[in-house]
Point group: C2
Chain length 277, copies 2
């Protein structure tokens, strides 16, 4: 029995959304629905237009016998700004201020709906670049890194401060914590990255820049390439702190003269969506 177009559209949407950046051959869909390739092509045209109109992402169609369709998730600037305005308003609630000038944000980074938005934002910046893995360091950066890895559909690799017998042979680097100036150490399994892989760093917070230097050293140890680095929050820099180069931040935290913390937009607008026209 042939499957109706309406059912094909629903199932193809689910199928593609669950496999970002993967090329699905036309023949696969044709067999799955016992339908002609020409019908599948028409379906994909509808998906492509709707995904674009609704800001869901790009459906790239590759023509020819070896052709197929690929879903590339993105988020539009308007949707990202609306979401980030909401996040910033939540973070600026004075009840979140912690002693020492910190802001409680673990709930934001554990909220599945917000993680979906954050993951799509990060994936948008790198949609045209080859990314083979997302690298983070335990603990708080893991959820946002995993969200990015999900939308880029590449492995998540977690560096740790402790070592664990279940990782097998490991590679460790020392680095200087930017904020405390202490020497720290981070470790990943030797099996977790392939030589030459293109690695994206994602973490929750950049302050002194020590962590990013540690992660960058790990990437160098593996002869991998650093594609970029994205942090949920960027802290204020003090003079004498390390230079951490080029990165993307979603929010920025600044101490005010009255001891309060003010959270504003990070540099994501320009980094993700480019110079405004």
């Amino acid at each position: 029995m042939k499957i109706k177009r309406s059912e094909r559209l629903v199932d193809m949407t689910d199928y593609l959304l669950n496999r970002p950046h993967a090329l699905i051959p036309l023949t696969f869909f044709a067999q799955r629905y016992d339908s002609a390739k020409s019908s599948i092509s028409e379906d994909l045209t509808i998906l492509k237009r709707t995904f674009q109109d609704r800001g869901i992402g790009l459906v790239e169609t590759v023509p020819g016998a070896a052709g197929g369709a690929k879903y590339i998730p993105y988020i539009l600037k308007e949707a990202a700004d609306e979401f980030m305005d909401e996040v910033i308003e939540i973070l600026n609630n004075s009840h979140r201020l912690l002693p020492g000038g910190y802001v409680y944000m673990s709930d934001i980074l554990g909220d599945p709906d917000k993680l979906r938005y954050l993951g799509r934002m990060i994936a948008t910046q790198y949609l045209n670049q080859r990314v083979d893995a997302v690298l983070t360091v335990a603990t708080r950066g893991i959820p946002i890194a995993q969200a990015a890895s999900s939308y880029l559909n590449v492995p998540l690799v977690i560096a740790r401060h402790d070592t664990n017998i279940t990782e097998g042979s490991t590679v460790s680097v020392n680095y200087v914590s930017g904020s405390s100036k202490k020497i720290k150490r981070m470790t990943i399994s030797k099996r977790s990255l392939d030589q030459g892989a293109n690695v994206l760093i994602v973490d929750d917070f950049i302050h002194g820049g020590g962590t990013i230097n540690g992660l960058t050293s790990l990437i160098e140890e593996f002869d991998c390439n650093l594609v970029g680095s994205t942090f949920f929050a960027e802290g204020a820099y003090q003079s004498g702190q390390q230079n951490v180069g080029n990165y993307t931040s979603l929010v920025k935290m600044e101490n005010q003269d009255d001891g309060e913390m003010r959270i504003t937009k990070g540099n994501y607008d320009e980094k993700i969506f480019g110079p405004s026209k």
Copy 2:
């Protein structure tokens, strides 16, 4: 301009898939597409049937003026078994055997595609129960816990072995590690769980049962209810180890007489899908 049915179906599928367990009012869709409620009802009938036929999940429709639609993700036993057979075959590769009888599995727990399957499997077991939060402990359990939290669409809460100034006031418990018999300590932010919440424990590995006892103590400290606990892997029990009660495991690891490790199916079949008929 009215939106065509084909476009509505694609967008509604995306919209619902991104909001598991959330009730979306019919009026919301009617306004979004400038369409009559009766058309939206027909669309939902198509979604419901296709989601069911394809094993994507349940689309629950609530009739009446306050009615709407809710997507409840699940996975069918056949799809879960096929996926788990593949995972077990991968894990049984002898290259994964580590000194001390451990098996390397961090790559499985960092693979976004596998995490989607694992998350759906865990969400399937609890689809009829109220779950308010997923609780795990750093580090290796975080990705699978986050996958479950994503499909259940509830917050992810991470207990830690260290304490962190960015968590504010915290609650800590001591527990005895089941395997090493050492006293350990785990901590979560006071803000991370509401009193009376229904909490699901998800972690990567259960061996001596110490971690689950620690997490259960945390749940008690918050006057929360334990809904259940699911572990990716279950290790062999030795006599004298703690009784950890009722849990779900996806794979089981057993030492063989020849020093090799054999990985087999955990108890998920019965726990998730019920007694076979």
